[in-house]
Amino acid sequence: MKQAEKEQYLREYAILKSQGKPFFPYAVAKDSAMAVVVMLVIIALSLVLGAELGPKADPTTTTYVPRPEWYFFFLFELLRVIKPPILTPLATVGVPTLAMVLLLTLPFYDRSAERRPERRPVAMAAMILTVAAMAFLTYQGANAGSPNSVDMPTPTSLSPTQAAVFNQGKLVTAQSGCLACHKIGDNGNDGPGPPLTNVGARLPAQAIERTLQNPTAPMPSFANLPPQKLSALVAFLSQLK
């Protein structure tokens, strides 16, 4: 903004300010009315929706699909949308960091003196696109499937003991929330993790076990699973071919 524009703004602002009303009691009255509304909304939400407490945290199973607070859904969805593993850091850290840097430096690259929204088409378009993208991703995140069961037939080629292990592994998979991030057959979400429908063909059992114990972020580590459950899980996954 040029010096002349700054001075012009300050002059016009001084006039508008001198024609205004005192903060007390006029603005204070509006702010107080708003404060009452805010408190009533918070109290009503508390009374109607309450605060639930799920089962106690248990590192050996995740019977709960990892789900953040609703206003972080859009970040989690971003992971699903940007899928290739090399781009994961971009989705998880790159996009939010870039957004924050753009927000922080906004006054330094938008230097025009124009303030009326209808005459700032680029700024308004950027805002509407951002809000629409966030709303869309939040909506997607809210509707992301969170099934806790894996629905697939046991292969007939397995011996009875193998079939028992296969079924136990299927159950552990369902209870451990893998489906929040992986697709197995028709079950689960496609992303952020790769589909596991044919992991058995792609990875040997040891590699799968290593991944579970020492995964790449954002996948949580399942090293704390009891050994028996872990081996069933690995056996199940390596059967998926």
Partner: protein, 268 residues
């Protein structure tokens, strides 16, 4: 001795105090007058030692520009949400125990047994959503009104930091109930931080308090959630509001500045 005189609001003539009739002037002061006098003296006493009255007058009786509308209440609404979070948070902290073994039990106690515990916990939980929504709306308002432009750039920057801190509050608070949902969501969240370049792994090690997600993680999150970030938030909100009062709030961008016709007439 300084005397504060509060301006009396305009009253319809029927309500205006009647001037004393002749001979009534030396009526004895009633108890109300004595009380009012006492109040004025107390304020005077403080003012004589602090000179706060001029700052208060500057704060309260500064003008807000013509055209100021309801959208301008979103900032103070965010402030109220913050105050509500701080208050309910103090009550929750009286019962909460930030150790991996007892956290869940203490939250269960708050929810099921403590007097009004479920209500206060509900207010704190939903208040966080309300605060995030209000802060975003307030940011949208300042963006649409072009309020981040000269001379309020610095206040916008402080605002963005407030937004980041508000989101960080909700991230660290989510773990504290230590139920399945919060535990696993936070593990994934910390892992996401860890995938960042260069500082990512350090940040997630710092948050976890080591390479593993364990007992120290919870107390770390608790300290960050109830001491570090609220302190920063309170200080920065103070700076934000100081700048608001100092620079004045914007007028809506479509307001036209026209000098008082009286003034232009006089000079023409």
């Amino acid at each position: 001795m300084p005397r504060i005189k509060l301006p009396t609001p305009p009253r319809p003539s029927a309500l205006q105090p009647k001037p004393p009739r002749p001979g009534e002037e030396d009526k004895k002061a009633g108890p109300l007058d004595v009380a009012a006098e006492g109040g004025i003296r107390a304020v005077d006493w403080i003012d004589e030692r602090t000179s706060l009255s001029s700052a208060t007058r500057w704060l309260l009786f500064r003008k807000v520009p013509k055209g100021t509308n309801w959208f301008y209440t979103l900032g103070s609404a965010s402030l109220i949400a913050f105050v509500s979070q701080a208050t309910t948070g103090v009550f929750l902290a009286m019962y909460y125990d930030p150790s991996a073994n007892h956290a869940y039990e203490s939250v269960r106690y708050i929810t099921n047994e403590a007097f009004l515990g479920a209500f206060v916990r509900g207010m704190h939980k939903w208040g966080s959503s309300v605060m995030v929504v209000l802060v975003f709306l307030h940011m949208a308002r300042t963006f649409v009104f072009g309020a981040y432009k000269y001379p309020r750039e610095l206040n916008w920057i402080i605002g963005v930091v407030l937004l980041i801190l508000t989101m960080a509050m909700s991230f660290t608070g989510y773990l504290l109930p230590f139920d399945q949902r919060s535990y696993w969501a936070t593990i994934v969240g910390v892992n996401i931080n860890g995938s960042g370049p260069i500082i990512g792994p350090f940040l997630s090690d710092f948050l976890r308090g080591g390479p593993d997600f364990g007992a120290t993680t919870l107390s770390r999150f608790y300290a960050i959630h109830m001491l570090l970030i609220p302190g920063l938030l309170a200080a920065l909100i103070g700076a934000h509001l100081y700048l608001v009062a100092k620079l004045g709030t914007t007028a809506p961008p479509w307001m036209k500045a026209e000098a008082d016709p009286e003034l232009t007439k006089a000079t023409a």
